[in-house]
Symmetry: D2
Subunit: 305 residues, 4 copies
Amino acid sequence: MATELADFLPQLDRDIRAMADWGKVADYIPELARVDPAQFGIAVALADGSMVTAGDAQKRFSIQSVSKVFSLACVLGRIGEQIWTRVGREPSGSRFDSILLLELEKGRPRNPFINAGALVTTDELLTGRSPRDALSEILGFLAAATGDADIHIDKFVAQSEAETGFRNAALANYLKSFGNLKNPVDYVLGTYFHQCAIELTCEQLARAGRSIAGLPGAPRLLTPQKARRLNALMMTCGHYDGSGDFAFRVGLPGKSGVGGGILLIAPGLASIGIWSPGLNAYGNSQAGTVAAEKLARKMGWSVFG
Amino acid sequence: MATELADFLPQLDRDIRAMADWGKVADYIPELARVDPAQFGIAVALADGSMVTAGDAQKRFSIQSVSKVFSLACVLGRIGEQIWTRVGREPSGSRFDSILLLELEKGRPRNPFINAGALVTTDELLTGRSPRDALSEILGFLAAATGDADIHIDKFVAQSEAETGFRNAALANYLKSFGNLKNPVDYVLGTYFHQCAIELTCEQLARAGRSIAGLPGAPRLLTPQKARRLNALMMTCGHYDGSGDFAFRVGLPGKSGVGGGILLIAPGLASIGIWSPGLNAYGNSQAGTVAAEKLARKMGWSVFG
Amino acid sequence: MATELADFLPQLDRDIRAMADWGKVADYIPELARVDPAQFGIAVALADGSMVTAGDAQKRFSIQSVSKVFSLACVLGRIGEQIWTRVGREPSGSRFDSILLLELEKGRPRNPFINAGALVTTDELLTGRSPRDALSEILGFLAAATGDADIHIDKFVAQSEAETGFRNAALANYLKSFGNLKNPVDYVLGTYFHQCAIELTCEQLARAGRSIAGLPGAPRLLTPQKARRLNALMMTCGHYDGSGDFAFRVGLPGKSGVGGGILLIAPGLASIGIWSPGLNAYGNSQAGTVAAEKLARKMGWSVFG
Amino acid sequence: MATELADFLPQLDRDIRAMADWGKVADYIPELARVDPAQFGIAVALADGSMVTAGDAQKRFSIQSVSKVFSLACVLGRIGEQIWTRVGREPSGSRFDSILLLELEKGRPRNPFINAGALVTTDELLTGRSPRDALSEILGFLAAATGDADIHIDKFVAQSEAETGFRNAALANYLKSFGNLKNPVDYVLGTYFHQCAIELTCEQLARAGRSIAGLPGAPRLLTPQKARRLNALMMTCGHYDGSGDFAFRVGLPGKSGVGGGILLIAPGLASIGIWSPGLNAYGNSQAGTVAAEKLARKMGWSVFG
């Protein structure tokens, strides 16, 4: 499998770079708007412990919403199923930053992978500790999951989002009005913006996902049941209102971020980090989604048979 | 595996029957409202060709929305991907009979497994043929899939729904107003009500799903890619606004009907027919969902690792 | 006042005819789609008993939703305030044929002047009598209100709408599914389509509104309180999601129809019938709305001071 | 008329105080939650220059959303009709603090009398000046309108709302995300909370409304057309999702606030200030609404005839 991949990834890299349409970088966070969309990297961690990469796989990028998987993992580790009293497990059918359902459903976000839900997860992580300690817990999880302590937060991106993240501020205040934030709004937002500004390379991201993929030799950071449930949530909710289409086309659980990253899981087989900063209409990486589909098809990786 | 199952299913049957809460039978279709909720059957078709059953597995029940899987399979076989110009592939986050999104999204249903989307599928199946021929095509598909021609439509149930199915009539008229039904409203509704009134036993349902599960020896009625895509749709959209929860708890693709049936697929491993007519708050079989969860956990069947 | 009007209306007629933009005739009812939009008529019934007209004031047009005022008047006469258990009194903020709020508000229409609410009113009128008798009651009310028995239903328009009125059929079925129609769906729709197909001239419409305007010498068909309340409903709900703008610009209660008619009331002063078949974006008469605004400003007629 | 009122108001005061149900005081602003609901005051400024009062008419209360009328009047005076590029003139059919439509309508509030719209008005008032100066302008308008400079802001109420007004903070941030606030969110919120915390007595409120009612001898602070348009907006939008019902029952333009105040206008006849702090389900004064209805009926004041 490693050999087949080693042949395939360079070709995939060429195919992606030959694509005319890279999508548009997120423009609502000024620091991200400056990134060149014509970049692409991929890294695949296999069950045999090998890592195969292509393109810009060593370049650091802002993981943004991919961080929601790791903050949820931390919360599940700490309080377990109690988190579901505060947030649901259903696809929202709405944009990542939608506030509409929050009014109809009285402040309980549909799932932890839309922004409203991730703010609740972060709030839970903050409870009983400082923003610094909450961020340390996520960074510590990532260090353990990747076996690599060289993981940082880009303060300029966090700052940029703090200055312009009005929609997240709206969501946080709205949650607070329903009593579904325990901590001060500013603490939650500050922690959330810093968590989103964590930088990883594709290779680090692929390593970070090994525990969720249940690969042999991966650090045991989650019980198998928790890993399966994270995968289930990624499958039904990982790509906002493009989740159904991603499941249909790619057939693997994944989580995207507006920085252009995608964590893709082939349970038991591989953990994949993909990055290309141009986005499609749903706010998911345009080239990254195409690459995920091509990779899954080529390797015959689909959870659906 | 067959041996393990042969031990487990009778115990599962006892456990389910010991449950206090059977849920409520669908009361909006008078014929279904008369069914005793305290019934339960399960049948598992395995990859080795064996069939293991328990409880009321030989009892016929109204498959209702489970039929949407088979009508979609027929349409995919006939016109393939063209169907997606008329209906989406995203979870709706709404009740099975919701009309709200249809207004916001101008007559294009979110997916083929909510009522609005299934009416479009049925309309496509009707195009160029009579209601009788369209129903024959679905029945023919089921006969081929099960290897059993003894499959019938309960005319009283179809009649009962025709007399009281005002919400489906609203959906069909609303679709027509947007030009997203080609055939007369009455033809589409009549065909749809008859399709929903198909009766199967759990064993027949399990046999019918073997092609979708891609079991060795199953009739080749679908390409592997089409089967995978049906599974993806069942995973993200198969249980209406309870789809995320089902994926989280059970970890397998499935499709429920208000008759209390569930078709559950363990890709490559098993095709499962479950029936218990009492429903939970989402309109999915209460005991059937519990049984699906227990079975998947016991057998270690999850697409998520 | 009659003299001032006699001077002004011909000028208004010329001004309107000089307008470049007549709007678009309703195209969802084929019979109405054939009407030439470049027509305009106005008739003003004054408190002194005089009638001043201009333009096509003697031409018959399809009153469509203006009929909702008269069917509500009949129902208020028959069962009084009981009707408010079935329909609200609030502006909907939605299009005339919206179904969205009906789902959120469980089958209770916001007000009797959107289609869903008018279907409930018509259903109430049908209760205990045949469609023919219900229509006779509305025609009888109009005959008494106008003092003119020469009022008819255009059967071709009613037929045309019956064949293509899928959105109204959706609304009626949806109401029925919530138990908020007592009579068979087809009876209600048939009666509703015929009621909408009543034809009046501007002069007849102006005469019909005199009781609602409370003009001296008008037939006493309504108590003063009922007349005031009809006016209040016309003010807040008479122009669908353009009601606020109409109140802002014109300052008088009114009710529009997609046939291009507007009944405009200056309480105690005048009852006005206006007709021009081209519609604006809200489905209200384009030129008719302009004429209403110019007339109200010229005459200093505003309920707001 | 003054004599009739002088007889009637004391009786109205007794009737109101005999009512069992005072409603509930607003509990989301802690300072307001402490107010005793069993209070009632009314003051009527008549066209002859006289003032008739009853009950707690000299007691100061927090005008809250009644201030939206005066801030809009200031903005109309300054930039006129341009404000309508940023906010609509239609009833919202939603609660005063709803955020749902703001998502569907991309950051343009339905009207200036719901919270979202009032934040836009306040933002306009802030443009080019400090919060202190913007507040001075509103206070100056009120001083001129009442002829009374003894008007103050209750800083404790403003502070209380600043600490708990998460829903308004959500609205302001959401507006900002669409570019529909020009000034910093904190400035707008701070100004808005202070504007809402203005205190008036019923008598001051009645005097303040004289210009809007167009009473002879009232300060000319608005053109007659602007006054009419304010009245039109109060009629269609002045009581949130209870506006239609208020128009139906009372028949006069009015604007309510969660402090329990109502400004009621009988154009050309009277300006009325009413206060009772207990609220009904729509967030409007419970006893105040009843008093408005009784007063209008007794005096025959209705704009609808």
